[in-house]
């Protein structure tokens, strides 16, 4: 099992993630060109990027300032979620063993802290989803599944690293959940990682260049 997960499935996961992402983006570009040319007509780089900038900087938008706790949690969640796996020492060792490539790594204690942050932030998001009326109203099972997909690699990675439970099994589970997450990105609402840039860019273009108003 471990060998399969560590070998062929890893390949599959990366191919599905990258190939799927390209396909999704290409299909959307095709649809826009064919059916909704407006969207392309009004693209404006200055206005589009200005809007993106406001929305990727913490507290850069009004709505972020209205709810500071959520903003901090959400940014910590995303920053740790994206950076930890890239700069984790153990991952880097694997990259080096397989491909002879390597880059910077975080010290292990930092990765550990960031992993815990993802898990805690995940719990916050879960509780918020169950408690806040306006979120619960639009929540379906899939939203919990997506949250689980995002948090599982961190939970299992944490347990494996500290070797509290059966190490080998936990490691296998960790790799598997990471692969599931990668493969889920292009084909679930986790694709917001890809589409965020496009939808925000478009709305930024409309507001900034046509409407002459801010959208943050």
């Amino acid at each position: 099992m471990y060998d399969f997960v560590r070998g062929p499935l890893l390949w599959v996961a990366f191919i599905v993630f990258i190939g799927g992402s390209i396909l999704r983006l290409a299909y959307l570009a095709y649809l826009a060109k064919k059916k909704d040319y407006t969207v392309l007509t009004y693209a404006n780089f200055r206005a589009g990027f200005r809007s993106i900038l406001h929305w990727i900087v913490p507290f850069g938008a009004t709505n972020m300032r209205l709810r500071p706790v959520f903003t901090i949690v959400s940014f910590l969640f995303h920053i740790c979620l994206i950076l930890t796996p890239i700069f984790l020492l153990a991952h880097n060792v694997v990259w080096y063993q397989s491909w002879r490539i390597s880059w910077w790594t975080f010290p292990e204690w930092l990765s550990d802290v960031m992993t815990v942050i993802v898990i805690l932030a995940g719990i916050y998001l879960l509780v918020r989803r169950m408690v806040c009326k306006e979120v619960r109203y639009v929540t379906s099972a899939s939203d919990y599944v997506l949250l689980a997909i995002a948090v599982m690699p961190f939970l299992t990675g944490f347990l494996a690293y500290h070797q509290w439970l059966a190490y080998k099994a936990m490691l296998t589970l960790h790799i598997l959940s990471g692969e599931i997450m990668l493969m889920a990105i292009p084909f679930t609402r986790l694709d917001h990682m890809l589409f965020f840039w496009l939808t925000r860019f478009y709305m930024g273009s409309e507001f900034g260049a046509v409407r002459h108003a801010k959208d943050w």
Partner: protein, 444 residues
Amino acid sequence: MSNLLPQKWDITDIGLEEGIKRLTPDKIRTSIKKVLESEGVARINAYVNTCIHCGLCAVACHVYLSNDCDPRFSPVGKVKNTLWEMIKHDGKVSPEFMKQAAEISYTECTLCKRCSMYCPFGIDMAYLISLVRRMCHLCGLVPQYLQDTANSHSVTMNQMWVKQDEWIDTLQWQEEEAQAEIPSLRIPLDKEGADVMYSVIGPEPKFLAQLINYAAIIFNVAGIDWTMPSFDGWDNSDMAMYSGDWEVMGRVKKAHFEAAMKLKVKKIVMGECGHAFRSVYDVGNRWLGWKMHPIPIVHAIQFYAELIRQGRLKIVRKIKEPVTFHDPCNIMRGRGLMDDARYVLQQICEDFREMYPTREHNYCCNAGGGVINCGPPWKKKRVESNKIKAEQMAATGAKIVVTPCHNCHSGIEDIIHYYKLPMKNVFLIELLVECIEIPEELKA
């Protein structure tokens, strides 16, 4: 099939009651599919897949805020109860569901786009809701009063069934009214090659004709070479845009642009209206294939600001009472006239007070987007669904609220009455004509 929501208001609308009787499963499905799979497919695809169901857009919506934060009125809640269900059931929804979708899309969302500024992804909920309206229109399920305005547009090219002789009569009458101030004043009709064509919305000659004489005074005092068309195309409004009848919208916009072309004017100046501006600046022009309006178009607020800046209007009096300002979405979020409006207000008011939140972030009037045009059956719901606006206005302590948009104006008027606010509601031009100098030579 999906469950229906509990009724919060007991409302009957003949347009919907009769419309639902004519629905067949096939008609519903083809209407939905036309929009889902063709007209709106690209953005539906991106928006519905990207929305992470985070609920962050809720706080943006005055309908949600005014209904005790009931999540069914949040932007994403309204999309859930319409589009999501339609997608989930592949267009196989019941007539009752469609009626509910019509009610949600026509009367619970003003397409004000405030929520796009609060959603981290910039998802255009107003666009999605307008697609739901489009489906309802294709099904023949439109609130009666709104449909009537669309019918009027289609038949007469104006919103209020105004006949040509009535239109010309009204202009003559307003010319006479204005002559009380400026005896030599004329409202020049069909003057070819004038600099400016002035256009207004259909309800102006019908209910608010004095605004035309105020505009005539401004044009005369500022010494503008202007004209108004006596023929179809004088009305710049467009309710078909909101009913989802985009074909008629296109015809109406074309007539408007063509009137200006026929008169060979340099630009169109339009009166204080928001949705009409949206229709020429954002929606109608696009439907006709123009990236922007094919001829320069200036909104009244921008026009007044220019005239004052250029010294063509001299301000000699100031309003003493405290004044506040309602930012209409279609010219603020839609055109960024925040600063021009404030420039004019600072010039003519001694005590100008901002509402909070303000500028782009101002709460909607809950009348625009065709909501007020759904008529009397919906009035109570409309006004109760904007309690937040009443609170926002009351907090300023102002005695006068300036609402430079016709839909906002009527909506704010209703709010003032319903919530008994001690305020007077005016158009900007009403204050402006009081404050400008009318040169002696014109009075003679």
